[in-house]
């Protein structure tokens, strides 16, 4: 059993959970994730380790409720516990000194981006952060990111905070400005966002790294369910990733495979009580 020590709501249905997991906290490197199995008989859900405190023996997860399992995880109060957490899994981020780096986050992806951006800044990169969301309440961690970013650009679809539009609009401006044009881009968020960022940066040949979120079970290379296509090769995202060169990613396949259980998921969500159904964020694919 893994005790939840803290559970804060950051945005509608995006929660920050601090959990006691001393071994994972000690072993964890930036970019890695855990698999959370909230209760006996539940699903195994991959979640990025946003932060870890080896001294305190805790890890921090940011979780967005998009279905029954994530809803159950965010619904675990401080003092409650999660049955199983396994990790850290996946490769660690290769932090290089690129020079100017743009970090682009969308939705809960911003949370995943946060430790990455900080590690890049710590490695003497000049970090510009772009975060986007549907509307103001969905913009998270802007202040925390500002602490080490040269600037934080915010876009919202309805214009309720920052600039109206998408993260790609802000990124385009950055690229167009010779003084600020990044040497590398890190993008984490909904698949359509990562895809759009990659399409935008491709003609400029700017290295673009994305963090992929296919459906997983074990997270250890055992099932092959998380396979993604990178260039001409099939890779297992849980052991070969989750971060990949975005210009090589077959996004169409990723989007497609994420819909594999759409019917079953819809049915399960349909069986939830209406007040819980309302709590689930519709994610764009």
């Amino acid at each position: 059993m893994f005790e939840v020590l803290q559970n804060d709501t950051l945005a509608p249905n995006v929660h920050r959970l601090v959990i006691r997991a001393p071994r994972i906290a000690k072993a964890r490197k930036s970019g890695q994730f855990v698999i959370v199995h909230p209760e006996q008989g539940g699903e195994r859900i991959p979640l990025t380790i946003a932060d870890a405190d080896p001294q305190a023996g805790t890890i921090t997860l940011f979780v967005q409720a998009v279905g029954p399992s994530t809803l159950q995880i965010v619904g675990t109060p401080a003092g409650g516990s999660l049955q199983d957490i396994a990790g850290p899994l996946g490769k660690e981020t290769e932090i290089e000194r690129w020079g100017r780096v743009a970090c682009v986050g969308g939705g809960v992806g911003t949370a995943v981006l946060y430790p990455l951006a900080r590690a890049l800044a710590d490695a003497d990169n000049e970090v510009t952060t772009i975060i986007g969301g549907r509307a103001k309440p969905f913009i998270i961690l802007a202040d925390e990111l500002a602490e080490f970013s040269r600037e934080v650009l915010i876009t919202t679809e309805d214009g309720s905070l920052g600039r109206q539009g998408f993260v790609t609009n802000a990124l385009q401006e950055l690229i167009d400005d010779p003084e600020r044009c990044p040497q590398a881009i890190f993008a984490v968020g909904p698949v359509p966002m990562m895809r759009a960022v990659c399409e935008l940066s491709r003609p400029y040949g700017i290295k673009t790294i994305v963090s992929l979120n296919p459906i997983m079970i074990d997270g250890t290379g055992m099932c092959g369910g998380c396979r993604v296509k990178i260039g001409n090769e099939t890779k297992f995202a849980c052991v070969d990733g989750p971060e990949f060169d975005g210009h090589q990613v077959d996004f169409a396949l990723l989007v497609d495979r994420l819909t594999m259980y759409r019917e079953q998921e819809a049915k399960l969500i349909g069986e939830l009580p209406p007040e819980l159904q309302k709590k689930i964020i519709k994610v764009k694919k």
Binding site: R23, A86, D218, M222, R227, K229, V239
Partner: protein
């Protein structure tokens, strides 16, 4: 009882038939297929044993179960004694009695085989083991061993690791099993389905180990959560039994279509994650027409699972003929009875899909058998121009597994074979002091009882190693 039987009478007893669930009915449920012998049936079958002096059957068993001895006790109706003998040699008899390829191991050596069929050693083992589980109070309680003060880490809770833990605990060593998944048993849990090995049995075996004082820590991926080096520092010895759990992909066009699974994923969703139960949230695609590629136990388990999940047509596609199939004969017979179709001498060329990315079919190549290959089986060769298409909506790849490099990648000094399996000497010792290994990680995909034999063997070597150090 037996004493009263003449040789002629003994020879006249026919081999028992295992009572089974009706094929039609069982092909739609996940309840156990074999129902087990009654006490009368078991005793009568035990009476068939001739108590051969040379004990050829024992030579066929990788852990050398004292077969005639336990059968004799059973024939005399002394179940506690039969159980006592069996459990001393085999830590997981209820498992082996169900899944061992007896027909190739102990039973094939039985002298009664030629004329009237071998003594049903596997069925008897199962009977005695099940009886023992239901009557723990009638078993002699072994004396608690003297604590040795030594500690051993066991990586993986499959049959190799469980056997190792049981042996070491009996020797008085303090044992901790580290398991990557959230539940124990390895392939016994996530691979072999409920209808062949009820998970209740795995649970009972694991509880028995815990009662012996073995600590089990799930969710520890050695190589990620902890390294082999850390284990070596914290424990006096380490045993690696992490299996061969990496799926070999088909490497065909269409392999990433929705509805294409590795057998590992398909069986894990069903067995470990409970996708067959309506009260579990794990989804799975219930194909109407399912093709499983391969001819081993894994393929049989997957195809029979597909049938139970409602497939109207559940097909085995195998590139050689039935004679070369590595699956147990009993599983092949059961599969046929359950309406599984066998398309033999055929290999997949391409997986076909629709515009939405779902599988719609398989394009296959017809094969014929040529010269024997390295494995001694006749090599399948394509018949030029002979291809055909099958309409399917789920494809399961059961062509095999390899060693998972997660652990070994973080232990650069550990000696591996070219295929990535751990190399050991005959005692199970690796090239690193105090580090032993066994089971599928050493052998490649093998059997439960071979993995257990490795565990037992290496336990003796570890005990010797620990005592030498003392």
């Amino acid at each position: 009882m037996k004493k009263n039987l003449s040789h002629k009478e003994i020879m006249a007893i026919k081999r028992v038939k295992m009572p089974e669930q009706d094929a039609q009915e069982r092909s739609r449920n996940f309840k156990e297929v074999n129902l087990g012998l009654s006490k009368e049936q078991a005793i009568r079958e035990a009476q068939r044993c001739l108590q051969c002096k040379s004990q050829p059957c024992v030579d066929g068993c990788p852990v050398r179960v004292r077969i005639p001895e336990f059968i004799e006790a059973l024939a005399e109706g002394d179940l506690p004694e039969a159980a006592h003998i069996l459990l001393a040699d085999n830590t997981l008899p209820a498992v082996c009695g169900r899944v061992c390829p007896q027909e190739d191991q102990c039973e094939i050596r039985c002298v009664r085989g030629a004329k009237s069929g071998p003594v049903a050693i596997g069925y008897l083992e199962r009977f005695v083991a099940d009886w023992a589980m239901e009557h723990p109070e009638e078993l002699p309680t072994g004396s608690t061993p003297q604590a040795s003060g030594k500690s051993v880490a066991v990586v993986g809770s499959g049959p190799a690791g469980l056997t190792m833990a049981g042996e070491l605990a009996h020797m008085g060593h303090s044992v901790t099993i580290f398991e990557a998944l959230h539940d124990t048993g390895g392939v016994l849990r996530y691979g072999i389905p409920e209808f062949r090995l009820p998970k209740r049995i795995v649970d009972l075996e694991v509880t028995r180990l815990q009662n012996l004082g073995v600590t089990i820590e799930c969710n520890i991926i050695v190589g990620k959560t902890m390294t082999l080096e850390e284990l070596s520092e914290q424990f006096d010895a380490v045993f690696i039994g992490n299996g061969a759990g990496l799926p070999v992909m088909l490497d065909l066009d269409g392999e990433n279509l929705k509805g294409v699974y590795s057998a590992n994923e398909y069986l894990t969703r069903v067995n470990l994650m409970g996708a067959w139960r309506s009260d579990f949230p794990t989804p799975i695609i219930h194909g109407r027409q399912v093709a499983v590629i391969g001819g081993g136990n894994t393929a049989m388990d997957a195809v029979r699972t597909a049938r139970r999940l409602g497939a109207e047509r559940a097909i085995i596609l195998y590139r050689r003929s039935e004679a070369e199939m590595p699956a147990r004969i009993e599983e092949i017979i059961h599969a046929k009875e359950e309406g599984i179709e066998f398309i033999l001498l055929a290999a997949p060329l391409e997986i076909l899909g629709d515009e939405q990315g779902w599988v719609t079919g398989l394009r296959c190549q017809k094969m014929e058998l040529g010269e024997p290959d390295a494995s001694g089986r006749r090599r399948p060769v394509p018949i030029a121009g002979a291809t055909f298409e099958l309409e399917v909506d789920v494809v399961v790849n059961a062509i095999g597994t390899r060693a998972n490099p997660l652990l070994t990648a973080t232990a650069p000094n550990l000696k591996l074979s070219r295929k990535g399996n751990i190399e050991t000497d005959s005692t199970g010792a690796t090239n690193l002091p105090g580090v032993f290994a066994g089971g599928d990680i050493v052998r490649g995909g093998a059997t439960v009882i071979l993995a257990m034999g490795d565990g037992k063997n290496a336990a003796a070597a570890i005990d010797a190693y620990l005592n030498k150090g003392a």
